[in-house]
Amino acid sequence: MTDIQTSSENSFSATNRERLDDPLMEARGIGKSFLGVTALEGVDFTLQRGEIHALLGENGAGKSTLIKILTGVYTRDRGEMRLDGQDVTPANVAEAQALGIGTVYQEVNLLENLTVAENLFLGRQPSRFGFIDRREMRRRAKALLARYGLDIDVDALLSSYSVAIRQIVAIARAVDLSGKVLVLDEPTASLDSQEVEMLFVVLRRLREQGLGIIIITHFLNQVYAVADRVTVLRNGRLVGIRALAELPRLELISMMLGRELQDITREHQAQEEAVAPTGEAPIRFAGYGKRGSVAPFDLDIRPGEVVGVAGLLGSGRSETAFLLFGIDRADSGTASIDGKEIALSSPVAAISNGFGFCPEERKTDGIIGDLSVADNIALALQARQGWAKPISSRERQALAEGFIKSLDIRPADAQRPIKFLSGGNQQKAILARWLATEPRLLILDEPTRGIDIGAHAEILKMIERLCAEGMSLVVISSELEELTAIAHRVIVLSDRRHVAELTGSDVNADNIMQAIAAPNRTEAA
């Protein structure tokens, strides 16, 4: 790891020595903790003039924390930050803007209830005799947008324009307001490929004007299409700063996922093969998909099988789970169980067909913090039985005690509000909730995120035991080791498309990364 970093710094400084001496923005040893939990530790970052710099990392890598520190939303605990050679510590967004750092956020950014011109000049409207000069504001707005090749009615409400145009209006405002550094947080998440190209033209033009641009995105194609350098973060630490022209795609992915290729191959040779169940699959999805969410895919699931789902953040991992569980309704394809077609129109329908789902966001989507462990466990079973037949508190207690024993949930107190349990024990309680309904298919989205090592191993062991008992599981995870250890089969997603299915001895981290990196794909949509 260390030698990757140094070698890249060397090769970069060889070509850009004169620029490196005078970076536009420089951060050293940035650290930030929230309530004792470290979000960033010793992160360095440099941005040159006339550079588009991509910031990459999986969930929880610390990208957004770093951006929020650079743009004044958070204040750093440690480290130093320089802009144009001056030490700066922006205390809030307005101060960062005044220093020259403008930000365009993904969604909450401009005001849809105001006109385009009002959005561009909010807080700095041209005025005459103390009153806003609307005519002058309109004229300046027109002139400003013309520089971005946009000729639109600036008196129309922002909400009457497409996301792409709003995005450019936001960029125009940020650049006009700040003018040194432009930060774009997931600017392309809701744009189609044509709109993305339009945005990139604008970004390249701004780069020529000497602006420093930081872009956060999880579309690797776009990173290679537009960015000059990349900074990769993982678990709140810096993995490396590299020039993209000299960085193979596969290596970038391994930086993001934190595995060295050789290690993976070595480990794989030592690992013994899991025996995949064969035969007819009772649960089948054919041509299943939803426009704008996941492209149509086929998926067969056999009893006692663990199907892993791999892919980078934003590749459609969780969206696949939402489709399978009826949270999102598919607009193409069919789902069937034992040859009978079923309609997964809602989670309730999915539950009644014997499906279960543990979501990724345990705190917001999973547990109900103030309810007791017993109540939380009984929820899904109650939903399945219908609310007309309540489960008595004695039955709930017995149910909870059974699972507390079998899953070793601690503390062993069924009446304790679940919010006082540790992450790992909460996760076990949610698993228990679904196990109580005796599902045929259990979908787990990031089952081991944010829990300690011991609980991690226990949950993996439990997954193995469940599938030995004949349950089918779909496990979504960004931890490749975890997937390759437990899955019989791995579906690989990229750009919201199922790009590969690996079985048997092909299931290894190397192959998964190759599949994610495979270049012969359509541009991100």
């Binding site: 967004v93 307005a94 803007q97 930000t103 956020y105 909450v108 950014n109 401009l110 005001l111 849809e112 209830n113 105001l114 009002e118 909010l122 807080g123 409207q125 005025s127 103390g130 009153f131 806003i132 609307r134 008196d155 129309a156 409400l157 909400s159 009457s160 497409s162 405002r173 307001l177 189609d192």
Partner: protein
């Protein structure tokens, strides 16, 4: 072409014109400057308070303290002038300072303690009403040569109508309020906060000072409305103007301002006041209807307008979706 954002205002205006036309068809006498003059004078205090409420609602908030502040103001002025013998101008100035500070304090609590406006101004409502009782529970008459002079002042319209000082005050408040909303940075910030407070903050809008300013303005205008009410009734009474805040909200919403904030015009509120006044006038002309019909018609109009606003949001979303489909 009418922009969708102005559609609620245009609808309100159309409803007023049509309703007034229908009234005139039935009672030709209603088309006189006398009726219009009285309508403006009778609703002056409500109109002034409704301008403050417009700013509050535009910012996505609510102010329930208005009626109580009006009552407090009228009792305060009546006692100060009638019993203590203060000059009316001194009393006016004192009460405007008090009501403005009271509003600022509520704004600061909303912003810095993060308490919802509904709760803060509900507390303010009880507080101001209690303070009014504390000063006097009786109806205090007021008499002073300056007050008599103000009450006696008017411009005569052709046709015998009178444009009184109170009506002029209300019209001035509407005009100045319209300018503040449409042509100042403060006004633009109010719309921004009402649109999306997080976005506004990220765009560098001073949310704290603007929020305090909004409730201070509403407090100031409530005080001014209280002074207008005192001049209108020549007395101060702590039990008066119960529920005026609700009439003000009704005028604002009927005037086309979205209750969720961010969209609306001060001029719309003026039409909202005119519609309420028109219904009252019609009931007077009819002579047989119970005055409670005012409330029923206002209720129906409110329902219609809320549904209309929903419809407009739904329609513009659909149009946007269609235009996006075409782009693809």
């Amino acid at each position: 072409m009418i922009h969708t954002r102005n559609l609620p205002f245009v609808t309100t205006l159309a409803i007023f014109v049509i309703a007034y036309g229908l009234c005139i068809l039935q009672f030709p006498n209603m088309l006189s400057t006398r009726v219009i003059g009285n309508l403006l004078t009778d609703n002056a205090f409500l109109g002034i308070a409704a301008v403050g409420m417009t700013f509050v609602i535009l910012s996505g908030g609510i102010d329930l303290s208005i009626g109580s502040v009006i009552a407090f103001t009228s009792v305060f002025v009546a006692v100060a002038v009638g019993s203590l013998g203060l000059h009316p101008l001194t009393a006016f100035l004192a009460v405007l300072v008090i009501s403005t500070l009271f509003g600022s304090l509520m704004g600061a609590m909303i912003r810095y303690l993060g308490i919802p406006p509904f709760v803060v101004t509900l507390a303010g409502m009880f507080l101001a009403r209690g303070a009014a009782y504390l000063i006097s529970t009786a109806s205090v008459p007021i008499s002073h040569e300056m007050i008599d002079a103000i009450q006696g002042f008017y411009f005569r319209f052709p046709g015998g109508g009178r444009l009184t000082a109170l009506a002029i005050l209300m019209l001035l408040v509407f005009i100045i309020g319209g300018f503040i909303a449409g042509r100042t940075r403060f006004g633009a910030n109010v719309y921004a906060i009402g649109g999306n407070i997080q976005s506004a903050e990220l765009m560098g809008v001073p949310v704290g000072s603007t929020t305090i300013g909004i409730y201070a303005l509403s407090g100031f205008l409530s005080g001014l409305a209280g002074i207008a009410y005192t001049l209108y009734t020549s007395s101060g009474y702590s039990l008066a103007t119960v529920g005026v805040e609700l009439d003000a909200i009704a005028a604002v919403v009927i005037g086309g301002t979205l209750l969720t904030g961010g969209v609306g015009l001060v001029a719309g509120t003026f039409v909202g006041i005119l519609i309420q006044g028109l219904i009252q006038t019609y009931i007077v002309f009819d002579g047989t209807l119970s005055s409670w019909w005012t409330k029923i018609v206002i209720g129906i109009l409110l329902f219609v307008f809320i549904v209309l606003q929903r419809g407009i949001i739904w329609y513009s979303n659909r149009r946007l979706a269609e235009s996006r489909l075409k782009e693809i």
